[in-house]
């Protein structure tokens, strides 16, 4: 049986928790189908078989936090036909971008006995700050359905439909009564990028923004709503400064409340 040449897939990791690439292994129902359609050419977490590039599709997890990684991402870009950044680290710098608000050596001193050995950059930055990125999948972590959707779209030449509207649309479709309106629970849903399926409100908690800012986030208006619900300035700083602290609209809004 002549085997047609399958497109190659590579997965690379930068500073991250591994969760986004693990999402691929969590696609239990689709994993073997994926393996049948693509050649997994570089996916260390899954296989010790490593093929050299160029790769047809490269998924990049994690943010750039070291000088070495800032070099490595360029190498990866060079051998990747299509490069997709997956997850909050790769698209916004991730939780480790919390360092961006302060002096990284202060953080290092808290954690490490010998901080002089730490080789790290002052800021944690998304992949797109370093190389051209063909597509971004948001989320901390990405939703595995979107990952499978991405592969399906890519294999078939379809434009991947990822709504950049608010979480509220998903929440309302799901039929969850708004936690902010019905319970007074502060929620970042109205300024947060859809994609999670409005998970947190379905568990009666406010969205904490793990998919980052939506397409036209009115963070100032939402901050005013939060304030009316009793949130303080520090609450707002912390709310906008979590897993997408490095995303510009969230960073700006957090700074507004830091100054007050």
């Amino acid at each position: 049986m002549g085997e047609r040449k399958k497109p190659t897939l590579a997965v690379f990791k930068f500073a991250s928790c591994d969760g986004c690439q693990l999402s691929l292994l969590d696609c239990e129902d689709e994993l073997l189908a994926v393996a049948a359609e693509v050649e997994i050419a570089n996916f260390l977490e899954a296989s010790r078989a490593v093929a050299k590039g160029p790769y047809d599709l490269t998924l990049v997890e994690g943010s750039i936090t070291t000088p070495h990684d800032a070099e490595r991402i360029h190498q990866i870009r060079r051998v990747s036909k299509t490069l997709v950044a997956i997850g909050a680290c790769a698209t916004a710098g991730g939780v480790q971008a919390l360092r961006n608000t302060g002096d990284v050596s202060d953080f290092a001193k808290i954690v490490y006995a010998s901080p002089q050995y730490i080789e790290t950059l002052g800021k944690s930055t998304p992949i797109v700050d370093h190389v051209f990125v063909d597509f971004e999948l948001r989320g901390c972590p990405v939703r595995k359905e979107q990952l499978v959707g991405l592969l399906g779209a890519w294999l078939n030449g379809r434009a991947l439909e990822v709504s950049s509207a608010s979480v509220c649309l998903e929440c309302k479709r799901r039929g969850t009564p708004c936690v902010m309106v019905a319970a007074g629970t502060p929620c970042l849903g109205p300024v947060t990028h859809a994609g999670c399926g409005a998970l947190c409100p379905s568990f009666r908690r406010g969205c904490y923004g793990c998919f980052g800012p939506m397409e036209s986030p009115n963070t100032a208006s939402l901050a005013a709503v939060w304030t009316s619900l009793g949130a303080t300035g520090p609450d707002l700083v912390r709310a906008f400064r979590s897993f997408n602290a490095g995303a510009e609209p969230f960073r700006r809004e957090s700074e507004v409340h830091e100054q007050r």
Binding site: N156, L169, P177, C178, V181, A182, V191
Partner: protein, 380 residues
Amino acid sequence: METAPPGIRYVLGDPGLPRLIEAVRGAGYRVAGPKVRDGALCYEELDPAEALPRGIRDEQGPGRYRLKSGHDASLFAQAVGPQSWKRYLSPPEQRLFVARKDGSGLRIEPEAADASRWAFVGVRPCDLAAIRLRDKVFLDGASADPAYRAVRKGILVVAVQCTAPAGTCFCLSMGTGPRAAGGFDLLLTEIGEGGPLLVEAGTSEGEAILRTVPRSEAAPGDLAEAERRMERAERSMGRSLETAGLAELLLRRSESPRWEEIAGRCLACGNCTMACPTCFCTTVEDISDLTGSTAERWRRWDSCFTLAFSYIHGGSVRRAVPARYRQWMTHKLATWTAQFGESGCVGCGRCITWCPAGIDLTEEARALREADGAAPSPRT
């Protein structure tokens, strides 16, 4: 739905409603009605053993909704909840068809309609109007939507007149409530705190069901009580909207600075459009399996507040939020009339209550009117 002659009004005694629902179920319907979930009254399927919640009252204001319980044993002493019956008539997510490739050929299998016949219990007059408006969109034009038609033709509407409007209600202004004018199979009016319900049939099917439950003909006192309650409801509307010349006003004020001002508060989150019982916009997504041999198209509720909504090759038409809010409000209150012969707003107040930023459509209309130089209309 066949309209029955103006019916005799009856009184159902206390366990009357469960008996009525049982009869509805007996006629082959799945029953959906109000249920308390996550702090709100949601319209969900009722189990046979399940009773409607009693003694629940609601407090509604811009961006605020709270349920209070334990007042009395009333069944319907609240206004509408966050959801509307559009969940059933136009599901939030719906597969339209499956496409299969065989060789170079293509087979399209339209989604088979769900055979369920639904009975909606507790439909408020504003929502009756909303269903009528949806019919105009999906049934009455040159084309009819097969999926909508399939659900719509099977529903039985057990409506209830509103005796306790909420702070965001303005159905009186829109001429849709609190009295029900039609579009129901059965119509209830609560005439005591957890006690008797006045009931009348609006269709022969409703009448047939009514005939099977214990009932007594309403006494003049019952009718007077119902009337007293309806009058009280009309007096206790939380909001009002001056509709005279409103459509022209909105079109005239399309460049008003007020739109910018609203956009300062508007989150462009789309909650208003999702909560609105008449908003009908949808988008579709085409998906496939990894090999591309089987594909599906899904239809989902969409919102004119998203950038993708007005996307044409090269960019979105309504990029700025003022334009998006203007589109929504102008469509609802002005251009809808040109499209479908009446306003797209039924005065249910959901867009006000469920706007996290508490933007009040009636207030914005008033502000636009004031800026237009017209005399400010009195507030209720």
